[in-house]
Amino acid sequence: MRHFETKLNPNQHNVVGTSIKHDSAVAQVTGRAHYVDDTPVPADCLYAYPVMSTITCGRIQKIDTRVALNCPGVVKILSADDIPGKKDIGPIFPGDVLLAEQDISYHGQPILLMVATSYEVARKAARLVQVEYLKADPLLDIQQAIASKDWVRPPQTFVRGDIDQGFASAPHRLQGELSIGGQEHFYLEGQVALTAPTDDGGIFVKSSTQHPTEVQHLVAEVLGKPFNAVTVEMRRMGGGFGGKETQAAPWAVLAALATYHTGKACKVRLARADDFRLTGKRHPFFNTYDVAFDDNGIVKAVDMVLNGYCGYSPDLSDSIVDRAMFHADNSYFYENVRITGNRCRANTVSHTAYRGFGGPQGMIMAEAMMDDIARYLGKDPLDVRMANLYQPGRDVTPYHQPVEQFIVDDMMHRLMDQAHYHQRRKALRAFNTKSPVVKRGIALTPVKFGISFTAQHLNQAGALVHVYTDGSIHLNHGGTEMGQGLNIKVAQVVAQVFGVDVSQIGISATRTDKVPNTSPTAASSGSDLNGMAALDAATKIKQRLIDFLVTQHSVDAGDIHFINGKVTVGKQHFSFKEVANAAYMNRISLSANGYYSTPKIHFDAEKGAGRPFFYFSHGVALTEVELDTLTGENSITRVDILHDVGHSLNPAIDIGQIEGGFIQGMGWLTTEDLQWNAAGELTSFGPATYKIPAIGDTPAEFNVQLFDSENPEFTVFRSKAVGEPPFMLANSVWCALRDALASVTDYRFAPQLNTPATPERLLNAVTQAQQWLRQHHEEVNHAE
């Protein structure tokens, strides 16, 4: 493994660590930033649209396309029989047919591909295909799947210590369960791909995807072509959040299939409602815990079962349920523990990657448990949380990876002081005593999130850097830009190496013919992996320049510095351009590729033990809410966050990720309510019925601070990944709502609150709390 110097020199102007604007910001605010659907298309471009199943489960009996074929503008209707190569596009395990042949496994499943001369005609004609089905009863109930052990992949278990002994020795024991809702990505730009034939029999694909390489592979395999015949380009996505990791591929492959059969360019773009119906969501989960603890609330034994609702096929569910298991401890040490993860089948779309990748659904169980223990013991939940934090000596995770960095305790104390937790807790109690209708709640929760793909081979990346003779620099890497600011961060790394202004770095679209065999931009790994690969490439070129200058000017390498756009060679000063040009004239290569693979990681899935994560990212959030106990309507009134990104590459970009991640998590836990009806149809299939947070839901007070630290592991300029971890800071919202509910019972009982905590669920929980109070009043009266 190569090691790079990534310590910053305090004596120079550093590009890394400064809040530089997103590289596309000007293009975005002027409307000039092109997304796939903005690409000018050739005059004879075709448009394809899937013909969707109108049943949830069963078999196709008969298909009648006559009416559709007679529509003016319809060019072709393609079926599975028209696929020359692979018919199953399952990303890791098989199970995802591109077009249904006989069996229907979820409502809306694509059966045929309507190809027409316009988008409107393709959509309309797709609805005119008559399909007769033999219906079967769909599996929609997760309890039924659990009972019948109907899994899409086998269960996994992590065990550490002796839970039986733990349960036997502890004085207190509680059981709980939680039904956790899924989440629609609601990337503002829906799924879209544009394909065109190349003159050598290949296919050129523009796809809004987090994983260009996978799209390349699948297009090639479905069309029976070698990988080198397919090139995928991805300039930017209008949001991804995991929803375009595997599930951008079908639409690109379908467009390519139409191009293959017609020889013309073809676009597939899903209308929003169909995007909702046809693409997987964050997995809903049904989880249970059984916990034993001592008088201080310290956990002695935990037995947790996490059941992910995977949909009809494996997709990425193996790793997603794994990650739920990896995070069921959050920041807490479980002395004796067993965590079981089940991957339940259901006749819905195949649920998929979504920011946090199962982590949130596991982590919230730890928080539910801490709250329940606190109510049971009559303690402040914060005290129970603090008492259970990992600390030296109590530092091994349920999957046997030791925790080596203990900053959460410090972060929690700091936030508690800065945001006046105790004063506010006191004031809030006083308010609640006097306010019969509106109740306030508060919660401070931590996040510890493991960084690295748990599929080890994905932890690698490549980059390509060219220096031109005018000193301008071209950067390309295998990551994809979906708004998270990856490109500017990687550009900052390259600019730092050459000591130039970031404006000298040109960043181009991600392309499979520039950097091959890439991993998806996922798992928060974008800047860790691609930043390091770009650092490698830039360092190679810089070393060649240094070697050249050493020879040319007979100086020591130590006397050569690349600072502020200048190159100092001994006592001489050159512009970067002069050096680049001189190197060219002396036949020095100014182009290099770079490569990086994450060290130290390994995991034995059989044993459930190893070091799946290179390091952990941390954060803590303090949230205050108000709850209307007559309607369940609520408001997040104040949020304070302290988050650990190591040495930030770009504080503005990182804070943007933290704020955005928190609000997205808040939506997941409050208003974003996915609903399927008894027939298996998604009934919340658009923004009219599926409500992501709006601007007015932004907390009136929203303070985000970066925790001053550096990554103890050797990462790019000692930074840490930031994409997913802040999402789970929103657990504090759910806990604060439960705190408001608990106030109804004078904090002796926190009612069950399944997520999302919609006004309706909250009102039901209020009723639960009031019932509890009545029952216990009677008990008290009776006793008297």
Binding site: L188, R272, G483, Q675, S684, G696, T698, F702
Partner: protein, 482 residues
């Protein structure tokens, strides 16, 4: 032929399908791809544009969703899109319009797909407020723009920051002045493959057209009807837009009460209506978004007879009458008798809604109008409750109610009205009223709420009503929309 101004360029259009949205036209016919399609249902705001209309003594600029805006409705209007806010040559932050510059400097764009829509809503703010109008107004104006990346904090900051630069002149003034001065085609229409779009300029013309084409679909702001085009892919042979009919725009407040023209938009009528009935302010803030309120009309909401249209229950509680007209005459119908069944009304094929009349406000009127929804802003009601009564000799008289989300149409709870009539307004009476109310309706369970939640909430809202009138109890959470 219709004529309108796109940014700096006047255009004339003849042959385009009547259900073409401004967004589709911009993106596929005019090469202006800055406006994005995020949902094509008016919910996300990524396609937000500014529409300027002559008010006689000037031009009024408002934000609208281009996906719901039918191209024909642009006749005589000035359409401003994100593409033209700065010169094409602008590449540095300093060269951008202050709205754009502020957004960049505050790091308000991440994936950038919602950004053009935000920029246009912010540009609307900038045009209409010469100084930072405060967070509440910003939220009111941007509630219809969804962002999935930023969490909005930097965008709120940008809305303030944009006022910190020297104010720049409206870059479109010259083109607009020229356009609004020139005479326009007095009989605007579109035709395409036998389909027609009419834009009558007067009530007699509208009534004559509706007489001639009784099956024609009436279009106003399009905020509901456009969904039939973009979601159900529906075609109508004939569309008649009412938005240019001057007689349908009247808004009057005099001794006979309030008269609200059927084609007056919410933005037009809310100030007058809420000056009389401030109790309805919150409901109107939570009705749709700024873009929807700038385009949607009272007549459109009533005519579509949606069970969850928000204004109807309020109008029921206010004892409003609808004035309906056809080519042969006029009639008046109490709003409570207008709705027959799910999306069915008493409106005949050749009839149009002309206006809503609300009688003068009795001095002793007590009114409440509560909207409950999953999200505070831009969400469809799970429950809407409107209740009004007069205090006469210590008892409630003329009790009127209106409910949304509780039945297949907006509906009154007559049993509740009868029960309350003549009783004193006390906690005990309101509690009993809750029992009456839960038996008055049999609401359905759907994606927005369950039957039980609707019933329980309605009952609890009566309790809120009592508490608000009688006690110093905090009954509302602190939220920008409340």
């Amino acid at each position: 032929m219709i004529e309108f101004l796109v940014n700096h360029t006047p255009v004339e259009i003849d042959d385009v399908a009547p259900n073409t949205s401004a967004l589709d036209w911009l993106r596929t016919k005019s090469g202006l791809t800055g406006s994005k399609e995020g949902c094509a249902s008016g919910d996300c705001g990524a396609c937000t544009v500014i529409v300027g209309a002559s008010t006689g003594d000037g031009v009024r600029y408002q934000s609208m969703n281009a996906c719901l805006l039918m191209l024909g409705n642009l006749h005589g209007k000035h359409l401003i899109t994100v593409d033209a806010l700065s010169d094409m040559s602008a590449t540095t932050v300093e060269q951008l319009h202050p709205v754009q510059r502020a957004m960049v400097e505050c790091h308000g764009s991440q994936c950038g797909f919602c950004t053009p829509g935000f920029i246009m809503s912010m540009f609307g703010l900038y045009l209409n407020y010469r100084e930072y109008p405060g967070r509440a107004t910003v939220i009111e104006q941007l509630g219809g723009n969804l962002c999935r990346c930023t969490g909005y904090r930097p965008i709120l900051e940008a809305c303030q920051h944009m006022y910190e630069f020297p104010r720049v002149a409206d870059p479109f003034t010259e083109a607009a002045d020229q356009f609004f001065q020139r005479p326009l085609n007095p009989e605007p229409c579109l035709t395409h493959n036998g389909q027609q779009f009419f834009l009558p300029q007067s009530l007699p013309d509208l009534l004559a057209l509706k007489d001639q084409y009784p099956q024609a679909k009436l279009l106003a702001g399009g905020t509901d009807l456009a969904l039939e085009f973009t979601q159900q892919l529906r075609d109508y042979d004939t569309l008649i837009s009412v938005i240019e009919v001057a007689e349908l725009q009247h808004i009057r407040d005099d001794e006979t009460g309030l008269t609200l023209g059927a084609a007056a938009t919410y933005a037009d009528l809310v100030p007058t209506l809420c000056a009389r009935y401030p109790e309805a302010k919150e409901m109107f803030h939570r009705l749709g978004s700024a873009q929807i309120r700038n385009a949607g009309t009272l007549g459109g909401s009533l005519g579509n007879a949606s069970p969850i249209g928000d204004p109807a229950p309020l109008l029921m509680a206010l004892d409003a009458q609808l004035i309906l007209a056809n080519a042969h005459g006029e009639r008046s119908v109490p709003v409570g008798e207008f709705f027959l069944a799910y999306r069915k009304t008493v409106l005949a094929d050749n009839e149009v809604i002309v206006a809503v009349r609300i009688p003068p406000r009795p001095p002793s009127l007590t009114l409440a109008c509560y909207k409950i929804s999953k999200r505070m802003e831009d969400d469809i009601s799970a429950v809407l409750l409107a209740i009004a009564f007069e205090q006469v000799d210590g008892v409630m008289r003329n009790v009127k109610t209106g409910f949304g989300g509780m039945a297949a149409t907006p509906a009154a709870a007559q049993d509740l009205e009868t029960f309350l009539d003549g009783k004193p307004f006390t906690e005990a009476v309101m509690e009993q009223a809750g029992d009456v109310l839960v038996h008055a309706f049999n609401p359905m369970t759907d994606v927005r709420a369950s039957r039980d939640y609707r019933l329980t909430t309605c009952r609890n809202l009566l309790q809120r009503f009592w508490l608000e009138q009688s006690e110093q109890t905090i009954t509302r959470v602190s939220h920008a929309a409340l």
